[in-house]
């Protein structure tokens, strides 16, 4: 049942894509209706799939060796549910954010439908070739969505970069799938034998998986495409890309590693190391951003890091037979997949409304929007508190599980040498990441929504349209619900962890005390804040205390860059900022300008210069490849002659 519903939901998403191309402008709302109904049917399928033991469906497909086989287990349904949810909310949001009157509305709707439909099928594909084909469809649809604004050179660049990175991932994935076929003899995800898993083939499969899924998920050294792509895409697309498309990489990694009978320490250690690097450096780069969407994009890297850290702890602990720690690590990492999807979409929706109103992505050109769009501000605030991992919202629950796993690892007996030392690093790394994320989101929320408007556009911003506000409501509710009643998810978590790793255990007793505290805490906080606000609603109002300086302007407020400056300076060893400051000023300076920018270290300081050098070296080939047909004919003739001479010899 669940498989049929999910496939039907995906097909409806595809249908909305087709319909958007044929119906006239005025009836474009039809596509959104089809997309939403597809999403709801798919969600129903996922909910059925949470309980199902594994529903399967085989559709005829005329591709050699390929079968459109679909198999829904709890793990697939778990990853697919946010896809359908964000598909629905994205369509609702886009109704006013990218209305039919806007240019290329049909184009955006078409590729949005294709991306969400194909994405949900990737997560349930049972045949590896089918998996690769769908994977490629998602990548191409996202490429077109990122490049929606063809007039913008940055968006074009981001789209090409995304395409290149995606195709490296697809190529690697192709290698992975073929190697898997030669190792197992089938084109489906079947467990590896112990001999294969411990052979060189097993190691090669792991590295191929790390590269393919790492690029897709945006793990730290492979993240180069992510910030630009998420910044350039339309906001509801960014929400889907950041919330669920990058989770495709996590799903793939978990699925492939679930095929190993035992995951050796070095594999778990690699996952954990990549997780710690991504989380700390992701948030450090985020702190340095002054473009709201790039900031959120870097936070996706951070959260992927947290997910990987949880999974890494799980793999290492499972390898040493520590079932409880493994369970906590896996459950925390996988729950964070949902949580990040929810609050990141919420934050992107909020950011989109702010950008929509102020016509800029520069944080330091906003300000004071909370008075103009209070509902959007409240939604963004919820997302900001959740992503900082603060109680009583959902981000805290998943991070808490990983923390407890890290603590338990330290308290328990020491086993396993160096892998154990890595486990020691989990707690401090999470602590640093959490504190920096908090700093970053106070900075972002404060500079965008609080204080005085810094520009006229910000001052004249109006309330966001209804559909854009409506899309945030279910996400806020979900963030609160998971935070306040985490026990409700315990059975599902146990089931998916069992599929992902074979570790089976109940989390009810672990999460119960948290639930006992979170609900009263949320209640008391809400009551106290609203009591104080209501009591003082008629309090006399005057200007902010200006310290005797009578004429402060809005531009004098502490900006987002200055808020983060000291923290960013700590990371100058890995992310040197590029500063354009005026040199020596004359005695009576007339005008001076200062601008700072944080280039991505891997892309702008590593990859691009290296590629440019490669291009120069490859330029040598221009001497023989001139593009003139006559010359090529000469080459042919000479080669034939040479061959003739050689054969006569």
């Amino acid at each position: 049942m669940s498989a049929q519903l999910i496939v039907l939901g995906a097909l409806l998403c595809f249908a909305s894509a087709l319909v958007s191309l044929v119906v006239p402008r005025r009836t474009q709302v039809l596509t959104a209706v089809i997309q939403v109904s597809g999403g709801i049917i798919g969600l129903a399928g996922c909910i059925a799939g949470f309980r199902g033991a594994g529903a399967a469906l085989r559709l005829p497909w005329q591709v050699p060796m390929g079968v459109a086989a679909v198999r829904v287990d709890a793990l697939s349904a778990f990853f697919a549910a946010p896809v359908f949810l964000l598909g629905v909310l994205g369509a609702v949001y886009a109704e006013r954010y990218w209305p039919s009157s806007k240019p290329r509305a049909a184009y955006v709707r078409c590729f949005f439908g294709i991306a969400t439909g194909a994405l949900s099928l990737v997560l349930v594909a049972a045949n590896t070739l089918f998996f690769v084909a769908l994977w490629e469809i998602v990548a191409l649809a996202c490429f077109f969505l990122v490049g929606t604004d063809t007039a913008d050179a940055d968006a074009r660049g981001a789209a090409w970069l995304y395409l290149a990175a995606s195709h490296i991932a697809t190529l690697t994935l192709f290698g992975l799938v073929t190697l898997l076929h030669s190792a197992t003899g089938t084109w489906s995800f079947v467990p590896l034998s112990r001999a294969v898993a411990s052979s060189d083939t097993g190691s090669a499969l792991f590295w191929l998986a790390i590269v393919a899924f790492g690029i897709k998920a945006g793990m730290m050294p492979f993240h180069v495409w992510l910030p630009a792509a998420h910044a350039a895409a339309p906001t509801h697309v960014s929400a889907v890309m950041s919330g669920v498309v990058i989770k495709m990489g996590i799903y793939g990694l978990v699925r492939v590693l679930s095929l190993y009978p035992a995951v050796p320490d070095w594999m778990g250690g690699t996952v954990l190391t990549l997780g710690i690097i991504s989380s700390i450096l992701g948030v450090a780069f985020a702190l340095a951003q002054h473009d709201l969407k790039r900031l959120l994009a870097y936070h996706s890297i951070e959260n992927i890091g947290i997910i990987l850290a949880g999974l890494g702890v799980g793999y290492i602990a499972r390898g040493h037979g520590l079932v409880m720690i493994a369970m906590l690590g896996f459950a925390g990492g996988l729950l964070h997949v949902w949580n990040h999807g929810l609050f990141k979409a919420l934050l992107f929706f909020g950011a989109g409304s702010a950008i929509h109103a102020t016509h800029t992505r520069e944080i330091d050109r906003m300000g004071g929007l909370a008075r103009r769009m209070p509902m959007v501000a409240a939604g963004f605030l919820t997302g900001a508190v959740a992503i900082s991992g603060l109680p009583p919202l959902n981000g805290f629950v998943s991070e808490w599980l990983i923390y407890v796993a890290g603590f338990k690892a330290v308290v328990g007996p020491m086993r396993g040498g160096w892998a154990w030392l890595l486990l020691l690093a989990v707690v401090p790394a999470l602590a640093l990441t959490g504190a920096l994320a908090l700093a970053c989101f106070v900075k972002a929320f404060g500079a965008v929504f609080l204080g005085n408007p810094r520009t006229r556009e910000a001052a004249e911003a109006g309330q966001a349209p209804a559909s854009m506000r409506l899309a945030m409501v279910p996400l806020v509710l979900a963030c609160v619900a998971i935070g306040v009643v985490p026990v409700a998810l315990a059975p599902l978590l146990s089931r998916i962890v069992a599929i992902a790793s074979g570790v089976s255990m109940s989390l009810v007793t672990t999460l119960a005390p948290l639930q006992r505290i979170a609900a009263p805490m949320a209640f008391v906080l809400a009551i106290t804040v609203s009591a104080l606000v209501i009591r003082l609603r008629r309090a006399p109002r005057t200007v902010t205390w200006d310290c005797g300086y009578a004429r402060p302007t809005a531009r004098m407020q502490y900006s987002s860059s200055s808020t983060a400056r000291t923290l960013v300076a700590f990371f100058a060893w890995v992310m040197p900022p590029s500063v354009h400051a005026p040199g020596q000023l004359p005695l009576f300076p007339a005008e001076a300008a200062l601008s700072t920018h944080m280039p991505d270290t891997v892309l702008d300081r590593g990859l691009l210069p290296a590629l440019r050098r490669l291009q120069r070296i490859a330029g040598i080939a221009h001497y023989i490849q001139s593009g003139r047909v006559q010359l090529y004919l000469v080459y042919l003739g000479v080669t034939l002659l040479a061959l003739l001479v050689w054969s006569l010899r």
């Binding site: 603590f407 929320f445 310290c547 502490y558 200055s562």
Partner: protein, 298 residues
């Protein structure tokens, strides 16, 4: 029952701790100083006064004091002031750190809400320094959890005499590191001077410049309770656990006020550090407690 006792202790004794610090400083300077109960007078005065709000602010501005007040009370429920903590559960020390992070989110957001450059500056400093203090706190918890084989604050902080004998060095390092964290988290000298009157140099005081009346009373009360809770955290590591709850309370209170005197002494003999030096001290605190982890893992 213990919940009410914990709340009563923190609500009643926290303002006195500020009085103890100020009295110590006054005596060190050869002054008579304000009475020990001056903070109670201040709070009573503030709660009777009217409030003036900035026209720039939104509800977030008032959420700052409200959240930090509630959070300090929640943290008090997580501490084993009289035997076992009312809300004890495995993993509660993570919640302990994170509720204070929640308070930090809202106090700094409230400061940003005023649109004042000074308050934004204070918020930025608070965020920066807290990011560096948090790992030190967690390293300490890791080491203590290892020593006590537990994840519950109530048993983690009940450091036994045998533990003190077997891992003296580690515990001394933790206490030292946490004392630095206490000074930083509560904006005391050498990180911040609560008596300064120059907005440019302040951290906590400058963030709350625009609060007045009862909300300012909440801010003051909450910061006193936070100081008390952190002092109690350090005190629990030092003071042995007694069988009778009231003996426990008395011992903890004694140690907390002793820490208050120590804070007062530090403030009397030291000047505030230059802001660029502050991160170095905090990183030192992290390294010290990280070393404690290394010692207990040996």
């Amino acid at each position: 029952m213990t919940a009410i006792l914990n709340l009563a202790i923190v609500l009643a004794a926290a303002p006195l701790l500020i009085g103890v610090i100020n009295k110590t400083k006054a005596l060190m300077a050869g002054r008579v100083g304000p009475p020990l109960v001056q903070t109670y007078y201040d709070l009573a005065k503030l709660f009777r006064k009217g409030t003036v709000l900035s026209s720039t602010t939104t509800w977030v501005f008032l959420a700052g004091p409200a959240v930090s007040f509630v959070v300090a009370l929640f943290a008090a429920l997580l501490l084993p002031l009289a035997g076992t903590a009312p809300l004890a559960f495995p993993g509660d020390m993570i919640l302990f750190v994170y509720v204070f992070a929640l308070a930090r989110f809202f106090t700094t957001a409230a400061a940003m809400d005023t649109g004042s450059a000074f308050e934004g500056m204070g918020a930025a400093r608070e965020l920066t320094f807290a990011s560096l203090a948090e790992p030190a706190l967690f390293f300490g918890f890791l080491a203590l959890a290892r020593v006590s084989h537990s994840l519950e604050l109530s048993s983690v902080l009940a450091v036994s005499g045998t533990a003190w004998r077997s891992s003296t060095a580690a515990l001394v390092l933790i206490v030292a590191s946490w004392f630095i964290v206490l000074l930083a988290e509560n904006s005391r000298v050498p990180f911040d001077d609560p008596n300064t009157h120059l907005e440019l140099t302040m951290i906590h005081e400058v963030m709350v410049l625009d609060h007045s009346g009862p909300p300012f009373g909440l801010v003051l009360y909450a910061s006193a309770m936070k100081l008390f809770v952190f002092a109690a955290l350090v005190a629990h590591v030092i003071v042995p656990r007694f069988a009778h709850p009231l003996t426990n309370v008395a011992a903890t209170l004694g140690a907390v006020f002793a820490i208050g005197v120590l804070v007062g002494l530090v403030e009397s003999v030291m000047a505030r550090l230059r802001l660029v030096r502050v991160p170095q001290l905090l990183i030192t605190a992290s390294l010290v407690s990280a070393f404690a982890v290394v010692l207990v893992l040996r």
